[in-house]
Amino acid sequence: MNTVAVRARRTPLSEHTIMPPCQVACPLHMDIREYVDLAAQGRLMEAMQVIRSGNPFPSICAYICAHPCEEACRRGQVDKPVAIRALKRFALEFGGDRMIEVEAETTRSERVAVVGSGPAGLACAYYLRKLGYPVTVFEAHSEVGGMLRVGIPRYRLPREVLDVEITRLTKMGVEIRTGTRVVSLDLVFDLGYRAVFLTVGAHQSLRMGIEGEDGAGVVDGATLLRELNLGLTPALGERVAVVGGGNVAMDAARSAVRLGVPQVSVLYRRTRAEMPADPREVEQALEEGIEFQYLVAPVRVRTREGRPEVTCVRMELGEPDQSGRRRPVPIAGSEFTERYDTLVTAIGQAPQVPDDFHVRIGRGSTIQVDPVTLSTNRAGVFAGGDAVTGPSTVVEALAAGRTAAGRIDDYLNHRYPLAPSDSEEEWMGDLRPETVATIRTTGRLEPPVLSREERTAGFAPVELAYDCQTATNEARRCLRCGLGAAIVAPDRCASCLTCVRVCPYHVPYADAEGAIHIPFDQCQACGICVGECPAGVIALRKAGELGQVDEELDHVLGSATRVTSKPMIVGFCCQYGVYGTGTLAGLWRGLKAGVWIVPVRCVTKVETGHLLRAFEMGAEGVFVAGCGEQCARENTGHWMRQRVAKVKRVLAQLGLQPERLEAFMWGENTHDPTEVLDEFAARVGGFYLDSVLLQEVKR
């Protein structure tokens, strides 16, 4: 073994990141950590590109994704999950997503038909187009989008957003035939299509199975929403009751409010804790004045004077059922009767697949498919989306569409289907309570919403986009799971315990043999130990993070040394806070000194060598500007000051004024960046003048 390490300051660590829980939980496995980090730096266009690369219709997800990522987010173990969906919307809206055009070329001759233009169908069409296939989408309704169009109300998903994505798709060359109901798959094959993707959705409302369910004034939620979304204005009367506790029930109830119904009630047979609807939806529904009656179930409907008279029974919660929720049990003799103008039933939906498709139907009227290939019992017929899973989320449907495109490609190439790509990842465990205790809690910042009056007046989008500062602060809450530090050359680790001592989260530890371990699932990737390790054997698990400061510094020095007319000042500026996003560059344009900004992702990445190099290349002054008390990590400012103090000592030994180097931490020694930096520039300018005069005198 060669023990000589020649100027290997940091052993490069190839991409060895661990998939974070959010990405694992996302059916599309989007690179959430990456785009949240870019959003935190205000690099919105790049964030938008990352989002776009992992999702065919990100702007739709930005509004209505059920965000399983947030459920998995480990920030939730500290305070609340990062608002990933809202950040995605922020990044897309301000990152220029609307300007994006997707191109596709036809390189294949096999035509593929997609039956149904819901999210699964459109996603499949998108990816098949990208693979070069000519694709036709058949849609029974007059408008494209499936549930996105006829199920989801406009106040949750503005139609312009949907239209932009669909226009993009047609520009890619996807042919969409609306008002075309497919009645037979044989016919589709006769038309020359070589493969079919069935995504007919789950539009058929389940029946309650009670007396009088088909009477006047009783309507199911899916039908109500469909009529409403296709431009009709259903007359609902003065009093409306919605039966059910899911998102469709919420959509129906909240739509009723927007149609001007003064009194809307939701009847749910369990309690709020068991409701499957998104809690935020429930919250907003309550704000809008919707009355919730829990532990109530209708047992009989009678039509009196053309209006439904509903008899309900009160329930109590019994033993848990298969779903893990406690089963509601009727309380004998608790019946009561109420009169409504309209009763909306929204207790679930199922697919309705024509018999003539001749595909095998399984439990809950869903199409049976092979879970890996998504193929049905008929050759060349694939299926996905709600038609296979029963009512599910948009992101699940998009993922199914993407998988289907891949499997159809395999089928048409006579290729053995590739194994599903999401092999068992190294799953990140929970944060230890000791780690949680050391992480600073910063409350989740929600995007603003319209006031109750503005909301209920019409179908305007309820949620607004973040402002820049709020979004940046929210994005900074990300714990960067799986990017943590690793000892890259254990043989050179001296077990000096520096990392153990400097870690603000008490993550590294020494085992009984004296070897140091840094558990990857506890590390917060703050980077302090990386800079402090005296053996230089710790690196963060992300290519690009390594050497980023060196590259930026080289770049800056390369340009700066060519400008000789002004004294050069180099500033290492944290990209996450007030000094980031180009704020300073703008402020400094009028100065006498030439200020060159080296963007850094947290000041802990700036090492003593970087500071010295700036001076070596002729900088008259160097400063480090960190986000200080705004920092999402602990002690970053402290360690920056340690390093600055060390370099100041060297400067003094070399006969340079230590005041040429300064650390500015937001909130610690400044609340006004311009003022302190102006002062610093003036001071450095003075030193510069002195040294120039001294040289003149010497001559």
């Binding site: 390490a5 300051r9 005296p534 070399l654």
Partner: protein, 231 residues
Amino acid sequence: MIVAEQKPLEDIIRMVRPYKKVLLLGCGTCTTVCNAGGETEVAFLHDALRMAEARAGDGRREYSEATLKRQCDPEFLEHLTERVEGVDAVVSLACGTGVQALAERFADLPVFPGVNTSFIGMAVEWGVWDERCAACGDCRLEDTGGICPITRCTKGILNGPCAGPKKGHCEVSPDMECAWILIYRRLERLGQLERMRRYYPPRNFRPISRPRRIVGKAGLEARGSHGDVTA
């Protein structure tokens, strides 16, 4: 562990001034642990020296960096034979032993110490090291409750405390706790206060003549692997 601290930069600059190609050599053991001569410090010194030259504007020296596992063992030094070819001088960031081992192995090469070897001690926290052992060769810790008066008493007295401690602190270095009061407290906890009543005669420096050598192996004749006399 041996604790050292880097020499002032001007000293190192002065040492290397006459040379063109200089190797900065770190040590991966003690001086890495005490933040004085590991890979990171080697790199820092390199940057500082380069900057010094850039600022002074004098002829550019060529610096290179390397770090050995340990400089105080001849086998590790063998890995340097190629690296020192064409090198005019070496600045070693190892303890004094490492510097000497280098000088011994590379007889024609000027070798300079980049650190001041300070003491045998321990880290009390990150970045703070305290001396604990004077390597006197005559350990008395069994009588003093595991606290060394030779090292930790400013006066090094064997029958303390002196009359000077104030509130448990040394009269000479008021920041330091009085070693003998620490010893008293510790013996009290151990129920061995009778040891305080004993008189400890002055140390016998005779067996500690310098330089010291320890022979751990038995004094047998060198033999081959089969037990035959080789020579």
